[in-house]
Subunit: 354 residues, 2 copies
Amino acid sequence: MEFKIERAKQLKEKPVETKLGFGRHFSDHMLVIDYTEGIGWHDGRIIPYGPIEMDPACMVLHYAQETFEGLKAYRHTDGSIALFRPEINAQRLIKSNERLCMPPVPVDLFLKGIEELVKYEQDWVPKEPRTSLYIRPFCFATESGVGLHPAKKYKFVVILSPVGDYYPEGVNPVKIWVEDEYVRAVKGGTGFAKCGGNYAASIAAQVKAEQNGYTQVLWLDGVHRKYVEEVGTMNVMFLINDTVVTTPLEGSILPGVTRDSIITLLKDWRVTVEERHLSIDELMEAGRTGALKEAFGTGTAAVISPIGELHYKDETVIINDFKTGKLTKKLYDTLTGIQWGRVEDPYHWVKILK
Amino acid sequence: MEFKIERAKQLKEKPVETKLGFGRHFSDHMLVIDYTEGIGWHDGRIIPYGPIEMDPACMVLHYAQETFEGLKAYRHTDGSIALFRPEINAQRLIKSNERLCMPPVPVDLFLKGIEELVKYEQDWVPKEPRTSLYIRPFCFATESGVGLHPAKKYKFVVILSPVGDYYPEGVNPVKIWVEDEYVRAVKGGTGFAKCGGNYAASIAAQVKAEQNGYTQVLWLDGVHRKYVEEVGTMNVMFLINDTVVTTPLEGSILPGVTRDSIITLLKDWRVTVEERHLSIDELMEAGRTGALKEAFGTGTAAVISPIGELHYKDETVIINDFKTGKLTKKLYDTLTGIQWGRVEDPYHWVKILK
Ligand SMILES: Cc1ncc(COP(=O)(O)O)c(C=O)c1O
Ligand SMILES: Cc1ncc(COP(=O)(O)O)c(C=O)c1O
């Protein structure tokens, strides 16, 4: 598919790169591709960023038939622009769409769309340390009608946002609230899919955590309310004695690109990784005894986010004196090093845009 | 709040009342009210039905912060127009919004909005038997930004659709597929809320049921995969011997207006109603022995939908020879009788528009 291009009449002023925040600014153009049953994906175009007209009965506004992805473009010191494992995002979007009975966006189309848009908007990839261009591909049902069925029309859209650190804290440890009332996802549901409904359902717990002075929520499983799942919008890992423990992929958590990359690094470094059920009781006990050496969340937005404190019911445990752990720091430095081109990339994860 | 009115330049041709289907036609006007944090609900207006402009980063398209309601306006033989217990829908929307951290639409504003819009569009309330005007109020986040947090801006919109029977089958029994792979909701999640994410998550099972020749899905609970929850977009009731058994309201199912009305009727008729956990094994066994006399779904769209067949794993049970049961029929006649003004309304459920 060739994309038509319509240039914005006026370009925006770029925001100050040291004050970007997360997801508040958007670039001048976006990619839009339509889907119609019987025709497939068609009319790919790069057009000025701006409002989309939606029929009030369009299904996404009623039944949330919507999925998304999140990845970043990184500016290397030689000026080139890199993506990080974008094909994994493409494949995950296919799985998300399948769960919601939405047509797959073919991997090639996903990659071509992102690459052409980012190249067209290359001035929007910031240069300051720790900044990047957040890429938000998303898909939604546009068919009108209030009967519930898989829609016959969709849009795939990509928008771009230059970003700085995800947390105002930077890479410093955050305080985590273990949630025992609200549930994010359950096996048989949509936990493994990156679909809007999971996020809408999660806001209440996030608000509750913040009201209690915590930055993010640690979710427990929906069946036993006992096993650790994810941290807010990140996967989560715990260094217990010499072993890194993380939740297995069994349908209720998102299979993170960062999670997979970290596991690969750890295995290469001969650190034992256990993908297994970890009960909150075992975790808190490890916190009490000091067996819990380090803890961190992993995700595209914050990359690695050290956890300094866990609060569960009436108990609080502090991890590593509320300091970023050695392994956490090494993982952060290595992974961000690869992403920004400062560290060798033996895994061929980085894709330089030509 | 006074609503501004902008009349459509051209009115649509009304669809043929005997061929309405469900949710395929929309009236000439819609109600829109905006919400801004710090200001509240403002700028209520009745305007021509038409596209809404949405920023591509608006939160509803990414995080599904969206809720809705569904109720009907009924044409009585004297020409007047009735709503059925609309205040229950108003209260339920408040609960849904609360779960998703969205601002409540006050009951009075909800009622006034619906009443004024329906009166303005009164020619759209059809007159043919079994037809009505389906009213779809919905709420969604319009703030732009890809960081996850409760939005500060929303819209409340009401659209209207003249409808006939929900199922092409009419009030004849339907075949139900008991789903044991996909899960709709779990306690701690959003099952009790009428929010888009629940419906997006449910489509896959619905498609699977249809592929197997069934009309709707019977959901089992997400924890034990054992207890009966709801049927597609209806609550469900079973007449086992002389007792009507239905799922209790414990957070994972929608508290249906129809469910509540039916329970009231049954209790008045001195029929024992048990709101209790009913395992699929007990249900299938009751089907086998014939203790299961009748079964039906309850919901605004189909009112009462008799169930003629249940399929679970490799077993099928036929209920009441695949015929609409006596109690089911009496409930249908009474409830629709009250709604369409043919039967006395001792409960003051019906609200005639003045
Ligand atoms: C719920 C959830 N878990 C985990 C992650 C981490 O995934 P990734 O490493 O691919 O960004 C995300 C996304 O950022 C998420 O939204
Ligand atoms: C999931 C679900 N359960 C039950 C119902 C029935 O609720 P009501 O009787 O209020 O229409 C609905 C809505 O129609 C629904 O969507």
